[in-house]
């Protein structure tokens, strides 16, 4: 009716479709795509240089202080033996795991067992260098912070967070169904595929508003200079060594998130997901894929 009343307006363009006839939607705006890939670079390099830094003193404590003579909560170390190669151990509370080959003791580049917490192929640089590890870490920490702030500001300003990430009431009521879908590896179709599911929303929110800020704040709390300026951060995290432990565990949480994220990308259609985070365009799997696919 309105179209007839105003014939001079441009006609509504039909939604672009893939060759298979799937509807293409513009899912990721360019600020989201750019900050995503800058984040990929930063997080990978921060994790790897972080493991290099951890290797300089691979023990975690709770409280203000802690050094080699104190009780610890977490440690990765090599146990030298009189006979036979050394054993790599991971200790976490009362748990003690033999991690020889991966953690504590691993094969170095020359093919010999070497006593280091994280193996050379996980650290930047591959050789032991706390000084160089710190250099990488602080540079990419600043880039990570700048990128994260840009993303935050954009997310609120463009209402990306409010519109796309905030769970709705019906989302939360149907969380049970979403959990079931995940357990069955069932992925959304049709209109449901045009928006994030509730578990996805909660995971993103947890990363964006809890885990990643926690990384920055616990990192800063390890600085004696920052401690003098904002001493309450020491109290917030329970001391400098607690902040260091939380920094490590939050990094582990990021690693778990990345793993699940990549698995989901692969399961829900690797090519389509990659296209959407590179070009912005995402193809929506129709409600009844078979029927649509059989159409000429």
């Amino acid at each position: 009716m309105t179209a007839e009343a105003a014939p001079e307006t441009t006609p509504i363009k039909p939604a672009p479709r893939t060759k298979r006839g799937w509807e293409l939607i513009y899912r990721h705006s360019w600020p989201v795509r750019i900050t995503h890939w800058v984040n990929v670079l930063c997080v990978i390099l921060l994790l790897m240089s972080g493991m290099q830094i951890f290797n300089a003193h691979p023990t975690l404590y709770w409280g203000n202080a802690g050094n080699q003579n104190d009780p610890y909560m977490f440690a990765i170390y090599a146990e030298e033996r009189e006979v036979g190669p050394p054993i790599g151990w991971l200790e976490f509370g009362s748990l003690k795991l033999d991690t020889t080959g991966y953690l504590g003791v691993s094969i170095d580049r020359d093919g010999y067992p070497s006593g280091r917490a994280f193996p050379y192929w996980l650290t930047i640089p591959t050789y032991q260098s706390l000084a160089e590890g710190r250099r990488w870490h602080f540079f990419f920490a600043w880039l990570f912070l700048a990128n994260g702030l840009a993303y935050w500001i954009y997310g609120f300003w463009a209402r990306h967070f409010q519109r796309d990430l905030k769970p709705t009431g019906s989302d939360l009521r149907n969380i049970g169904r979403s959990i079931l879908d995940h357990v069955k590896f069932k992925h959304a179709r049709g209109d449901d595929a045009k928006r994030y599911n509730v578990l996805q929303k909660l995971a993103y929110i947890a990363m964006i508003f809890i885990v990643l800020p926690l990384m920055i704040l616990t990192g800063l709390t390890m600085s004696p200079g920052v401690n003098a300026f904002v001493p309450w951060m020491l109290d917030l995290f329970g001391g400098r060594q607690s902040a260091r432990a939380l920094h490590f565990f939050a990094a582990a949480a990021i690693l778990i998130f990345i793993f699940v994220h990549i698995v989901e990308v692969i399961l829900s259609g690797f090519f389509n997901e990659m296209r959407s985070i590179v070009t912005g365009w995402f193809a929506v799997r129709p409600e009844d894929a078979k029927a649509k696919e059989s159409e000429p």
């Binding site: 023990t59 260098s129 000084a131 250099r135 602080f138 390890m222």
Partner: protein
């Protein structure tokens, strides 16, 4: 046959991932060792320093002080724990009775103080946390003379920008003295009220592993800035011609001059 083929493809893919991975790692190593790239990464140190200097430039705020019950039972002594130079050994045997702290460089009144004289000066006692660049922390009680007292008495020339500590320990066991420990700090840290030349730790005379006869405490910095076994303090305008020119023993070995994080 198909099984073999898929296995072969998997192995090829795994091998490819392996090759790509090691190429990336090798690339990172080469970047890491490249001076140009190091310069780029070091811009972060400037940000750390500028950021912290903006908020810490006044003599306040102070580093957190702890209570007696927080003192670490086993405060790790790091770096050199027993200097071996004949000079130092002689002072140690004499309980530093003939040792003198020289304060010179760009000052109007060079000073030469015995340990007795330093101990007799008004002192400050503080229980603070020591953070090693490696990641561990320990809490100790330190008693010593504020560095500002000595610098005011020596009267700095107007062009002084840094305070240099020359130490007795040679961590690399070099024969030519090129491995002698030294450190530099700027005047903001030098005149901070908690920056003291400590001669006591946990209520006792400072022990050799912890830096006897005196070590400096710079409470908003990492441990490696807090030189032990101090023999001489100099007021300087720049440090580019001292050691390898980066301002300290560990700085010459790649660590940041500003060690506030």
């Amino acid at each position: 046959m198909i099984g073999d083929l898929s296995r072969m493809i998997i192995t090829r893919r795994t091998a490819l991932t392996g090759v790509m991975g090691s190429l990336l790692l090798a690339g990172c190593d080469r970047l890491s060792a490249s001076p140009t790239f190091a310069k780029l990464l070091e811009t972060a140190e400037r940000l750390n320093k500028t950021g912290q200097r903006v908020v810490l430039s006044s003599n306040r705020p102070l580093a957190r002080v702890y209570s007696k019950s927080d003192i670490s039972l086993n405060f790790k002594a790091n770096g050199t724990v027993r200097p071996v130079s004949p000079d130092y050994r002689k002072h140690q045997e004499e309980s530093f009775a003939n040792w003198k702290l020289e304060i010179g460089g760009l000052v109007k009144n060079p000073l030469s103080l015995s340990l007795e004289e330093i101990r007799a000066m008004p002192s400050r006692t503080q229980i603070t946390r020591h953070d090693c660049v490696e990641g561990w922390s320990a809490i100790g009680e330190w008693t010593g003379v504020p560095l500002s007292t000595l610098l005011e008495r020596a009267e700095l020339m107007p062009n002084v920008r840094y305070i240099l500590f020359r130490c007795a320990d040679d961590l690399t066991n070099s024969r030519d003295g090129s491995g002698l420990y030294y450190e530099t700090i700027d005047l903001v840290d030098a005149f901070h009220p908690q920056t003291i030349l400590a001669h006591q730790m946990n209520g006792e005379t400072l022990s050799v592993p912890h830096g006897a006869p005196i070590r400096v405490r710079i409470e908003r910095q990492l441990g490696y800035k807090m030189a032990k076994y101090i023999m001489r303090i100099e007021a300087v305008e720049e440090f580019s011609k001292i050691g390898l020119g980066r301002g300290g023993f560990w700085e010459d070995r790649g660590y940041e001059w500003y060690a506030g994080i």
